[in-house]
Symmetry: C2
Subunit: 115 residues, 2 copies
């Protein structure tokens, strides 16, 4: 029973958008499985987090949804990236990279570099 970590703060919307970009239109449950899979089963998305995020992204206009039927013949809501969503994905990607670079700087900086 391996324990899977929580999603790091502030990265879930980014991962959802990226997953939709990668895979095309998907339903929420599928997105959460994909995220688990891409992470090498290292993280699990809480359902109580996922659906509010999808709702919020839709309200922002980043994604649109409509009801459909899965390959398993189950009713599900399919989400698709909009042009706004692609733009937002770009922005959030850049922000993440800056954040990562910033934190990384703390690991490489030496005391002598600082006055």
């Amino acid at each position: 029973m391996k324990e899977r970590a929580d999603v790091p703060q502030g990265t879930l919307a980014l991962m959802v958008l990226k997953t939709l970009e990668l895979m095309g239109p998907m339903h929420g449950y599928g997105v959460s499985r994909r995220i688990g899979q891409i992470s090498g089963d290292l993280l699990a998305v809480n359902q109580g987090t996922l659906y509010p995020v999808l709702l919020k992204l839709e309200q922002e206009g980043a994604i649109v949804s409509d009801w459909g039927v899965t390959e398993n013949n189950r009713r599900a809501r399919f989400y698709e990236l909009t042009r706004v969503g692609r733009k937002q994905l770009e922005v959030e990607t850049r922000q993440w990279e800056q954040t990562a670079a910033l934190v990384g700087r703390f690991f490489t900086v030496k005391a002598e570099d600082l006055t």
Copy 2:
């Protein structure tokens, strides 16, 4: 008037611990300036965030503090890493690296890699 970004969620404790490791014992105000400096003046630490974090770290035993006088002859509380704090720094560093690797995977993965 350049605007500085907020500290990314979940990274402040790590940056505080790392700064104390780098610089040795420091007071809170100094820590916040260092963080700003190391980030290339790209981020600013909110005082209303910093002191609660220091308090929490002290309660966890990661740091200890005592009152002293700065080189400017001002009263200040100096914080120092404990052995527990060094351990915690190691753990949080590893966690951050894993997080960064995980998020990074979303940018390199291709649809064909996924079944």
